[in-house]
Each structure stands twice: as C-alpha cells, then as structure tokens.
C-alpha cells in the first residue's frame, strides 16, 4: 500500500482476562496498522484472541497496555462520550450473529443508524439505505423482515447496516461463520466491493482460511501473539 498515513494503529497491545483467581493474558504485545481503503484479515484458531484484538482496536474494550491511535489521536485518552462519538463517525461493525431487530424491515435496520446516529432526515436516510441495499443485491428485499430473509441475506443487511454511514473503518468478526461457503464467499465479495465503493478500510478477524484471497494483507494470530509476517504478500495472493 502506498498510503502515507495509517488510519488506525494498535501499539503494543496487551490484554488479559481474570478467570477465577488467575489472570490469562490473551494478547501479547500486538502492534498493527491499517491503511485507508485496504482489507486486512487476521486469521487464527478459535480462542487465539481475534475478537479481543478487534474489541481493543475498535474502542469497545480498553487495553491493559498499549495504545490505539486513530488518525494519530489516542482513542483511550478521549472521554467516554467523545470516544462514542468517534465510533459513531468512523466505525462500522459486523458481528458474528446478525443481530437485526426482528420487527424492522431491511431498510429500517439501516435507516435507524443514519437517523439516530447522525440525525439524517428521513428522506435522505431512505435514499442512502436503498442505495446500499441495491449494492448488496437486496433491491427486492428492502421491505422484508429478518424472519423472511435467508442467513446470507441477513448477513448482507448487517453489512449494509455497518457501511451505510460510510465509516472510515469497518470491523467484522467472523462474518462468514454462520454461512455455508457459497453464501460466505458471496458475502465477502460484497463486503469487499461495498467497502471499496464506500471507501472504507475493512478489518476482518476469522478462522475461515477461504477469505484469504480477498484480503490485501493477512496476519496470523496464535495464542495471543501476532505474526507480523504478511501471509498475502508471501503467498502472492490478494491485491498488490
């Protein structure tokens, strides 16, 4: 990548959880920088600390040691309200479950993010929601509720919800784990395309090796240690 400044950086992140009497360190001294517009994948087996890393980088969990910089600003130096406002402006999230409101239509799931998050007027929120749903191939499903959608479609709505506000960084935790590969692949392709269209940096953590070809850079996390070697570069895969 030729970009001159990183948009998000984790510096020597260390984190542990208390388990009964003892503390288990789940991340050791992890450093990572994300560049604008790229798609970064962190691979690792279950329990290796991927979700924890995502939580630290995205400001959902405070690291025990180390710092998170976004555009050079230290995330955990901010007051909680400012940090939340920061998330509102810059971050999108895709979680393992779809976590869609059962009562709301696909379009409404996206609209509330715009209307409640940044006070976008109803008409504009609707236009923007529709545009991204079209992009995700959900043009005919806008008025359907989660119960009427397949797993892959629900995950696409969740992607739409993450991207509709045009975030700087979109975080995705195991976005394909609930889907068979046919649908999983489709979802990753769409995520990649939509993120490119919206200019978002995408940070995916997953144990699913089939995502590797879609990522610009791929790192391996094992027992809380991040291998700084870029697997995508060495395998000659992904975009240059």
């Amino acid at each position: 990548m030729a970009a001159e400044t990183s948009c998000l950086e984790g510096h020597r992140l260390t984190h542990s959880f208390r388990q009964g009497e003892s503390r288990t360190t789940v991340l050791h001294d992890v450093s990572l920088a994300l560049w604008p517009g790229e798609m970064v994948l962190v691979m690792g087996p279950s329990g290796s600390g991927k979700s924890t890393l995502l939580a630290l980088l995205s400001g959902l969990l405070q690291p025990e040691e180390g710092e998170v910089l976004i555009f050079g600003e230290e995330l955990w130096r901010l007051r909680p309200a400012a940090r939340k406002a920061f998330r509102q402006r810059h971050f999108g999230f895709i979680f393992q479950g779809y976590n869609l409101f059962p009562a709301l239509t696909a379009r409404e799931q996206l609209e509330i993010v715009l209307r409640w998050g940044e006070g976008v007027p109803a008409g504009e929120a609707r236009t923007r929601a529709d545009a991204i749903l079209d992009l995700l191939g959900l043009g005919t499903k806008k008025t359907l509720r989660p119960a009427q959608l397949s797993g892959g479609e629900k995950q696409r709505v969740a992607i739409g919800r993450a991207l509709v506000k045009r975030p700087t960084v979109c975080f995705a935790d195991e976005p394909t784990s609930a889907l068979d590969w046919k649908h999983g692949q489709h979802v990753v392709e769409l995520l990649r395309a939509a993120a490119t269209a919206e200019g978002a940096t995408v940070f995916i953590v997953s144990h699913d090796a089939r995502i590797i070809p879609y990522a610009d850079r791929v790192f391996h996390l094992e027992d809380g240690y991040l291998d700084s070697h870029d697997l995508a570069a060495s395998a000659g895969m992904g975009t240059p």
Binding site: L60, R87, Q88, F91, Q96, G97, P102, W116, A162, K165
Partner: protein
Amino acid sequence: MSYSLTTIWHERKRFLPGIVAVAFSTLLILFQGGLLVGQFSLTSTPIDHTRADLWVGHPMNLSVDLGRPIPERWLCQVAVQPEVVQVETYVIGLIVVDRLDGRSELCTVIGSALGDNSLGAVRELTPELRGLLTEPGSVVADETELGRLGFERVGDVAEVLGKRVRLVGVVQGLKSLAAPYLFCSVQTARILFSGIEQDQTIFILGRCQDPANASAVVQRLRKEHYLSAFTSDGFSNQTRIHWMTATKAGLAAVWSAILGLLIGLVITSQTLYAATASAWREYAVLEALGIPTWRMGMTVLAQSFWIGTLGLAVAVPVSLGLGELLGLVNIKVLFPIWLIGPSAALTMITVLLSGLFAMRSLRLVQPAELLR
C-alpha cells in the same frame, strides 16, 4: 415513534400483558370514578331538575339535603336584586317515614311551589301531579323506590310523626343515593319536617332575567348578607363533593385507583424491561455504532407511550360501554370529561414512568459482549 409501534405490533404477544395491565388499571379508575360520579350526582337531582338559577340558604349550609332553617323574610333580600325576576321558598329535610308494616325509612322530603312557573318543582312533576300535590299530606315518589317506602300503589299511605302521608303519583328517574325523595308542596313539607317553624324556610330559590347574571348576584348576596348563596351549578357541585368527601367514598376510590396504577406500573415496566433486555444484542450493535443511548431510551419511552395509548383505546370505550349497560338497569354512571381527561393523563404518566424504569435495562448493553 413508528418503529416502536411496529415493534409492538410485531411482538404483540410480548407486549400484550403490558397493554392489558394498562387497560385494566385505567378501566378500574375510570369505571369506579364514573360510578362514583354517577351515584353522587343523585344527591343533587333536586337542584339539577329544577329551573332555579339561585339557591340561597343558611350560612352554614353544606349541601342541598342538609339545609338549615332561615327566616322566610330573607326572600326580600333576594327579590330586591335587580337581575332577579322570581323568588320562592323551598323546604327540604330528612324525615323518618313509618311504614304501615311497622318498619321505618329515612327519606328526603322536598316541598316546593307547584305553579306552572315553579322554580323548585322538579320537571318530572306533571301539571296533573302538581295539582294532586296541593292536597296537604300528599306526596310523589320515584317508582323504583316505592318498595323502600312500603308503598305498593298510588293511594297507599304511611305516617310521619303520627301524621298521615298519601302517595298520589309516581315519577321516573328521580332515584336518590340514600334517602328516597318525597316530592310535595311547601305546606306538606312544613307539616312533615319537624325542624322548621311556620315563618321559616330552608332555601330561597331565585330566577334571573338572564341566567348568565346568576353568579354576579351570588357574589353580591355573599358580600352584603350573612347567608350562603350559590348558582344552581355551583350548588350542585358543592352538594356532590360534600357527599363524596363526607362519606369517604371519594377517598376509597382514590386509594384503589392508586393501587390499580401501581399494579399497572409494575406490569408495564416488567413488560418493557423484558422486551428491551431481549433485544440487548440489537441495542448493543447500535451502541457499538455510536448511536446515543438516549436515542435508544427514546424508543423504550415511545413503546411505553404506545402501550399507554393502546391501553386507553381499550379502556375508555369499555368503560363507556359498561356505563351504558349499567344505565339499562337504572344504575347511574357518568363520565364527565374532567374524569376521563385526568384519568387518561394519569395512565399516560404511569406508563411513561414505567418506560423510564425499563430504560435501566439499556445499561446492561455492552457491545464487547457481542464479540465473545
């Protein structure tokens, strides 16, 4: 707002207990209030069914049936008021009627003028009945209360203080709350009611040229003389309120209303709390996306608003319907707007409070939990 309504509709099974609780507690308040207002409105029928604009009586006067004797010459003080075009004496009091079967009954005797333009005669007294009542010792009663008076048919007799009374006719729709009304002439009332001298009356009734001037006359009479003066509306309210408070019936109703509201509050807040808690993952995503927590709180409040609205939409028509039903069996239930308005407001306040309680569950929302 509409998102919340959609949610309530979509998860109606979950929200139903809340709506039912609100409807039920509102119904309790409203219906009980309506019954109370309806029943106590019976205490002022002697006022409400006459043509008088002014009621003047003893300074210590509390309600229409508890008047005290005043000199009949006070008539002049009312009659000299420029707006007043007609004055009359009116005798009302509690008497004990001894039935022929040996039992006795507390009654309200109401003696009024009987002419065609009479101010004190209730409008149900037809010219024919008024003619019959000119005969001393004759009375008219409501047909549903004949049994209590020991009368079976017109012509039957009973005794008051050893003096004979005779039923000369019946009327409809003039039931009393407690002591049956006996309508008669002023002369008969003076005979039956022992608490009054010949030159005394209980009330002086007046009519104004323009009824709109009544309250001005009342103000003036109160200021210039040692007496109590009311417009007919004012006296009607005073009488109802006096009985409601004197009997503590109002107090009992207030307590059970509070109880009903508390139960509604608890059930609604539980419903809303459970609904919010069950959607914690969805709210956690919004929290992660940086959506202000107060925004999500607003959806909970909006849900509570709709629960309240739906509850009212059930409770109000059902109360009115029940009132109509009871009306069919001659039990008077009234729903004045001053009863419905505050009851509805109270319900909405309670429901919004329960929404505020339920908002606590949003504090449990931790987006990091979605990453486990």
